[in-house]
Symmetry: D2
Subunit: 265 residues, 4 copies
Amino acid sequence: MTDDYLHTWIGSSTAERITVAGRDLAADVMGSLTLTELAFLLVTHRVPTAGERRIVDAVLVSLADHGITPSSLAARLTYTGAPEAIQGAVAAGLLGAGSVFLGPAGDTAMFLAAALRDAAPAPPEDPAAALLAVAETAVSDLLAAGQRVPGLGHPVHRNEDPRTLRLYALAREEGLLGAHLRLLRMVADVHEERTGRHLPINGAGAGGAALADVGFPPSSVRGVVLIARTAGLVAHLVEEAERPIGMPLWLEAERRASAAAPEPR
Amino acid sequence: MTDDYLHTWIGSSTAERITVAGRDLAADVMGSLTLTELAFLLVTHRVPTAGERRIVDAVLVSLADHGITPSSLAARLTYTGAPEAIQGAVAAGLLGAGSVFLGPAGDTAMFLAAALRDAAPAPPEDPAAALLAVAETAVSDLLAAGQRVPGLGHPVHRNEDPRTLRLYALAREEGLLGAHLRLLRMVADVHEERTGRHLPINGAGAGGAALADVGFPPSSVRGVVLIARTAGLVAHLVEEAERPIGMPLWLEAERRASAAAPEPR
Amino acid sequence: MTDDYLHTWIGSSTAERITVAGRDLAADVMGSLTLTELAFLLVTHRVPTAGERRIVDAVLVSLADHGITPSSLAARLTYTGAPEAIQGAVAAGLLGAGSVFLGPAGDTAMFLAAALRDAAPAPPEDPAAALLAVAETAVSDLLAAGQRVPGLGHPVHRNEDPRTLRLYALAREEGLLGAHLRLLRMVADVHEERTGRHLPINGAGAGGAALADVGFPPSSVRGVVLIARTAGLVAHLVEEAERPIGMPLWLEAERRASAAAPEPR
Amino acid sequence: MTDDYLHTWIGSSTAERITVAGRDLAADVMGSLTLTELAFLLVTHRVPTAGERRIVDAVLVSLADHGITPSSLAARLTYTGAPEAIQGAVAAGLLGAGSVFLGPAGDTAMFLAAALRDAAPAPPEDPAAALLAVAETAVSDLLAAGQRVPGLGHPVHRNEDPRTLRLYALAREEGLLGAHLRLLRMVADVHEERTGRHLPINGAGAGGAALADVGFPPSSVRGVVLIARTAGLVAHLVEEAERPIGMPLWLEAERRASAAAPEPR
């Protein structure tokens, strides 16, 4: 190891060998690890247990783009103009994964981790009460600042987000219901108590908490969920090549917009 | 099902339920399918067998960006300027997955599939001889047109690409050594015979052939491999946030370029 | 000038001075050159004449995204999800400028330049006849290969593209009606004669030819027109921030798609 | 005008006519407006005066990417992998225009506009004293919050940014030295007084203030400067196609990183 800044733990190669995460790619990674396990290894520097892997996959499959979303529409419309460069259409779809969509997974993980970090150490005799105190402080601070609570609320799943219930059940089943998921539920309860409004824990928020619980650094979550989104976008584009939505959507939009346009002066 | 063009098989949601690929996401996908299996399902419309899943994962982990590549450098340099928008840095990295890097996986799948499609049906008594004839025609056509053979040659792995040997071994082990992988090997042999040059089958080419063999439409391969690349890019960016390469690389490049610059006239 | 590959003619800076295209940026570029003139200078290595500048601006303003297009819709939908990263929304819009939309400007310039380059030198006594021969060969070759003629045809402006007529008039007015624009018109005429179908010269094709005539390398045209597109996209996004289309478009699309979706099995 | 949300002021087209900003594109825009003037018109809904146009062009040419920057390197490295999709390389370059580079132009405009908006109306007898009070409050607030002052400081131009001096001179020359530029200078002075550290007004900050002074909505500035950046990136990519930096940079980086990599265990 020299002191050149130009090096990475992730991988390297010579004429004969490719090394990934300190392992021989051909001998010890191919055939042994799933893509999900490799992603876990590359980010956290260890291989997940079977239970952790199951939780991570559950989160990722829950956040692949299902259905018509702004991201999948943007990807399809980009494909309409540049079908020869599918990487551009996937990139366009990913670019919409910001503060409004998908980004909240990472924002929730960061919010929960910060609340846990700032809290006084829990008295060993009553960890649940300690966690509740953390939730109360965190919600109070956000409400006082007039900010939204990350991970709560969904425009379509107004009562319960079906992904959330399932993720909590899986985490319990695998013995991986950790501090982030527990705190998030308390946060939701405290929020409802304080405001009188029921906002369900959304799938992105629950997913971000679950990823933090199994060991992903909270700051990595915004990136990690993009892997899932890429899978969804690729599927949308394969379908778009066979049965286009982009072109008829444009033609309809253009027709409606031109009907609405005033004559030039 | 109405006749509106605005619909997709991939997924949909109501207030209570999210449907993905015709299944209930919470009940039948989360906890049951890995991300790789979901990607397979969304693109091919069926769940892979265990063997197929193992091959797909082997291809994907072999094509995640290992080490310093133009893609990972572009992603890191983008992160340098916009660390608040990690989706943009991932997108920048994906945009370099074109005709030169990673794209050859899809190009190889398309090339092999076209050669197989154009060939006369194989006489049942000697499928190997029939496949050899396909390889000979395909290589002849490319050489006559002055074009490169997709899937052959690598700037670093000049003798053998370690991923290729492993992938062929895995495919044989799983009983999934299909027409695309077989044809690709014959193509490499015929090419060497005709030109006297040894060009190994590269990992992208072998990966593309393997994906076609397990059932991915050849036209989908260029997209599918982007899922793997996203995983690698995310790992690079998580590392970049902790130990930056982008900023020192820029400062070194700027210093060297300014030393080389003439004075303004 | 060292022999380090890391240098560029475009610009450099020291603590006191910024040099662009060999000029002092503050003293000799700011206040003196328009953005269009700088782009011309950076690509062609000379400042345009007033007439050339007028043609380039006419091309650029004609190719800024007017109205609702797949590009502007993709940009707006990306903004819906990530309003904090406007560069991502602009990038998403640009990614659709490929082989179908806007790319044809560059493709036309390349096609015309190749045809002119391949042609035998024109006999000085009759340049028009020589150019006609070039057009006939070029059209014949494309028709024989079953390919479309770049620069012809438009889904909306089926008879005449209003930008084309104006651009030819401006080029004549400025004495800049060069070989590329002349050849393109002959190509359109020959194509109609041979096929019996009237396909107007589209604005992208005429723009590409005009840029080549004033001195842009044909291979640069695909890039140069992106400057115009960026201007249009930025305007769309400024409007989107005030009066959103992306969110209601998504909600309408989601509603229609979910109405069309079958129940999960 | 219907009540459909799908319409835009920017433009529309029919078979015979293209309308941009309420004008006939062919008759009243092409040949009459420069790209800069069109961008001004599309964003502010009026044509700039000659003086305003000169200031806007001065800002834009000052912010086109000069020299080797993280953005231009990312664009060049992307081109290395996908030279057939130049729009992707330009997009990759734009994606780095975030909070660290170029974004500060918009951030400065927003900061100055907010400070002006929050201030009590200036007593007519002494506008300079009133502006100074605004600067003092604004700097105090930022320092108290431990935040940086937008628009101040530059890693290379540590004493003075040459673009800033020139821009102030041009604005004065054109009679367009408005509240934003004036306030920014006072902010820099107050900051130096309070902290004892000299941080020059950087080119991005001055550019953002100047664009706000001539009439761009502060929230539009982050987008508007991307037009300039696109011009610079396109020039870099035209050069890259002729004299590549991306490929040798990758090979050098790969070689250095592999030398630094440990053996796989």
